[in-house]
Symmetry: C2
Amino acid sequence: MSGDDTETGLPASFELAWGVRDRPTKGPKRGLSLEQIIEAAIDVANAEGIGGVSMGRVARELGASAMSLYRYLASKEELLALMIDGAFGQLDVAEDGEGSWRVRLERWAEFELSAYRRFPWVLRIPVTGAPIMPHQLRFLERGLRTLGGTGLAEQDKLSAVLLVTSFTRSFAMLSGDITAAFESDDPTTARVMPRYGELIRKLTTRAEYPALHAVIDAGTFDDEEFDGLEHDFRFGLERVLDGIEALINRRA
Amino acid sequence: MSGDDTETGLPASFELAWGVRDRPTKGPKRGLSLEQIIEAAIDVANAEGIGGVSMGRVARELGASAMSLYRYLASKEELLALMIDGAFGQLDVAEDGEGSWRVRLERWAEFELSAYRRFPWVLRIPVTGAPIMPHQLRFLERGLRTLGGTGLAEQDKLSAVLLVTSFTRSFAMLSGDITAAFESDDPTTARVMPRYGELIRKLTTRAEYPALHAVIDAGTFDDEEFDGLEHDFRFGLERVLDGIEALINRRA
DNA sequence: CGCTACTGCGTAGGACTTAAACAGTGAATC
DNA sequence: GATTCACTGTTTAAGTCCTACGCAGTAGCG
């Protein structure tokens, strides 16, 4: 199933994604292709969320049976991993472009955020290790490149990129979850969130939760319109970049 | 099912967790309690991961049947939400303590990281909105309080706390996933990760991925011992705190 | 002593993943 | 040209899972 005929130790489908492995030529012609399956799975995930992605559902999309897919994949896990890379592949990672490291790193983070906004289900798929798929590695490369002329140690460049991506990832997750809760008819969240401040005031005392009440009193949760926490992302990213800038200046 | 007899609009089990709702007195004595169920579910999650948590599995742990649990919970989702709060409740959120805002915020972040290290499955549970459970709110309160005397606007305090928690969350996720991959016998990751640098060199060319190769060449991935990315967390957190500090100084 | 709300649990239905077995196909080999 | 056999898609079935529904039993209240 998870053959390692070539010397990478990767599953066959991963090697296929890298173009390292050739399909055997014997036997009947294949009715499907890995790309087709991945694309269909992404379509399902876009339309119905990651929960809608089942082998049967994806196969139905292709007019095939669930078990057919196992000729191309060893497990559903493999499909999920390939879907992530497929999603990144559908986006154009802009070339490095002009500007200071700060501008370029900022653009990089914004690209990542927009990717998760477009494919929110990517964040629901467990990461099983460091990136090894083509488009993800290309994305990492772009991130590292923004710190090219900064004089940072290689180790620190990686850590800095990890910092930016960590912030962006869980920010996108939070923002996406809340947006989804707003849009869904889930009785709990949809009804609770619009009156969040009110609810908290009802459940907690000002004496025990002074800081929380101060934030609520300042009207922070009284947004007439939910903007996807755009402001908070901007805020966090600027702080992160300030922090990296401080380190760069210290090194120089 | 999801009654809102009291005026919070929350599910009954949530109100129970707040101590707002009383159980009816009629009928036979209850064989279980919500606390018991949550604790059992947490035990299962600790031992077998979030994937091991099924209604049947949790019930078996208690010597009950799967359907019994639905007398206490409206859905599995509710159980999951309660588990998160239960996990935070099992930890002692240290009192604010002494020190500058920076030291206290750092301690706060370290506490959060340690929570996710102890209960990694928490990060696998989808967040359905802003925090509304008791222990989570207490945790948020502690975070906001660290920024007490800084002169930041309330809005900015929340954004800053959100920044720290966002970084910590996805960092814990990444670190936990990779640790799990190292410890698991999952053929893909367990075999691939120790030779990550080697693998990347095999799959990519130096011409196309110069920045990535530079990092690998610097020996960044040659850790003899995997330390859970402790160093990278420290790095990221310091940058974040530097960034917040810069803002505070600018305001003053 | 009913009444009635409440209890736990058995059954069953409709998901899901995937192991195993099957028959058809067609390139490689003799 | 005949044969071999690796490879194909599919069917069947086993083992999960969540939870709607309904039943029989229990205990506080009038």
